[in-house]
Amino acid sequence: MLKQEQNDLLSHSGPDTPMGRLFRSYWLPALLAEELPANDCPPVRVKLLSERLLAFRDSEGRLGLIDEFCAHRGVSLWFGRNEECGLRCPYHGWKFDVTGQCIEIPSEPEQSTFPSRVKLTSYPLVERGGVLWTYMGPPEQQPPLPEWEFATVPASHSFMSKRFQECNWLQALEGGIDSSHVSWLHRGDINTDPLFRGSRGNQYNLSDLRPVFEVVESAGGLYIGARRNTEDGRYYWRITQWVMPSFTMIPPRGNHSVHGHFWIPIDDENCWTWSFDYHPTRPLTEAEVAAMRGGRGIHAKVLSDGSFRPVANKDNDYLMDREAQRAGTTYSGVHGFAMQDQSLQESMGPIIDRTKETLVATDSGIIMCRQRLLRAAKALVDEGIVPPGVDLAHQRVRSAAVVLPKDQPYKDGAREALMAQPGVAPASV
């Protein structure tokens, strides 16, 4: 459980909140690159950290993320005309460039300098690894561009999707840290999903429903190790990475691609679930990409209206299938890993009341995660200390699945496996 004030602090990420300041220390995924596919394409509304913004790509390919509303009378610039290196408000013709600088006010005299003194709030927007990233913090503290491994491999090696999730970011993240739910909620899919099936690790997973957990502080966040016994007296370890504030990486299975998530607050009651898959040493196959696009693995099939809302959503009871639940083909009755998680996390309500929960020892990863976030936010606000996860070294990580001797710390035995190594296959079982 948390005290109410702790729960509020962790859940609220708007401007000038402690968690808001923490999130504004990082480059955050804002859009898929394909959402702004061409110069002068339609602008896209973006809400992040409770700020309403507008993204656009100008006539010369420059990317901008600016205040959604015109400085003049507050019209949404989503209605704007993206033309000749700027976005023009259709109401009175005010025009803004990708930095938010007003470059034209038609009602002003021709040589007026007034436009140069009008500027909308704007944030940098850069493309990397098929994702458009933004940094919403103080410009003088802008960190180097992110170096998550999925964003640095060739484009053919990776796949990224995003989906709209209707709950606070933290309860979604906590699902990513909670390794103990996998053998229950996802048990019906581990051996059948095309992006998971066929690995020896799956058998360890399904034959031991009470893994032993080991949570270890890492420089950027936590390692969450789940161990199971092997047939030869060693331990099978699955080691999840959590890097602040909201990056998780799930241990791989067999020669499947590795995958993970970011959970980014849209506002306090909604978040983006970003899901990536990549393989460091080979391109993804057509079948793999087709499965990912089709909502298999950790991805979800989303509506085609640009909302990125999953096809199975709360409005249709997540297409609950009681027959499949009874038959055990899906444990919860909801199909697919992604929506199995999302349906339960949304059922908690927009922001779960953590003063009432009853945590047990296997929730230690979640407890440590919350405490690390609380401490990092306090250190940032009180002392200006840069939080973990900003340092690029903290981002060059991998999850791993390994078999080790019983007395070996996995942080030691899997030291190299837990670091991103260009051209080296992930450690997997």
């Binding site: 459980m1 709950c167 949570v215 309500g349 945590l359």
Partner: protein, 151 residues
């Protein structure tokens, strides 16, 4: 018309959740496994707790039946160890907890200077008897953990 899931997960419906948390009468014991861990446990014992009992390493090392019986009578046995110290007392607690089907969790406090090899020795002693292990550099996380359990 809204689906049941849409209606029931709204902020408006959250107002009708029962105001009281579930009743949890969980007893937790916190035992130091070595002299350095005694400082952590003694400091914790000064706090306000409703259902927690604290044991110094000397009490555990003596393996007094009364102490072990009390530890194994709890719902959760938390052990605190210092990386590099002798944690063999974990076996005494682990054995009685295993017999009585009591969950065990061990918190290993690791100073930054402690090597993996040294940590490995301690882990070798606590792992067979711990269903949950947390390794952290800062011993104040132990209190956070206990507060999170509504101890």
């Amino acid at each position: 018309m809204l689906s049941e899931s849409a209606r029931m997960s709204s902020a408006a419906e959250a107002r009708f959740r029962l105001p009281a948390p579930a009743t949890v009468a969980r007893t937790i014991t916190i035992s130091a496994l070595d002299p350095a861990a005694d400082d952590v446990v003694a400091r914790l014992a000064e706090g306000r707790w409703t259902r927690a009992r604290f044991f110094p390493s000397s009490a555990v090392a003596a393996r007094a039946p009364r102490v072990l019986d009390e530890i194994a009578g709890a719902d959760l046995a938390v052990m605190v160890a210092t990386a590099g110290a002798d944690a063999s007392a974990a076996a005494a607690i682990g054995a009685v907890c295993s017999d009585r089907r009591v969950h065990t969790a061990t918190f290993v406090v690791r100073a930054a200077a402690v090597s993996d090899a040294v940590l490995s020795r301690t882990l070798g002693q606590v792992r067979p008897w711990s269903l949950m292990v947390v390794i952290a550099n800062d011993d104040t996380y132990v209190e956070d953990m206990l507060r999170s359990f509504r101890t």
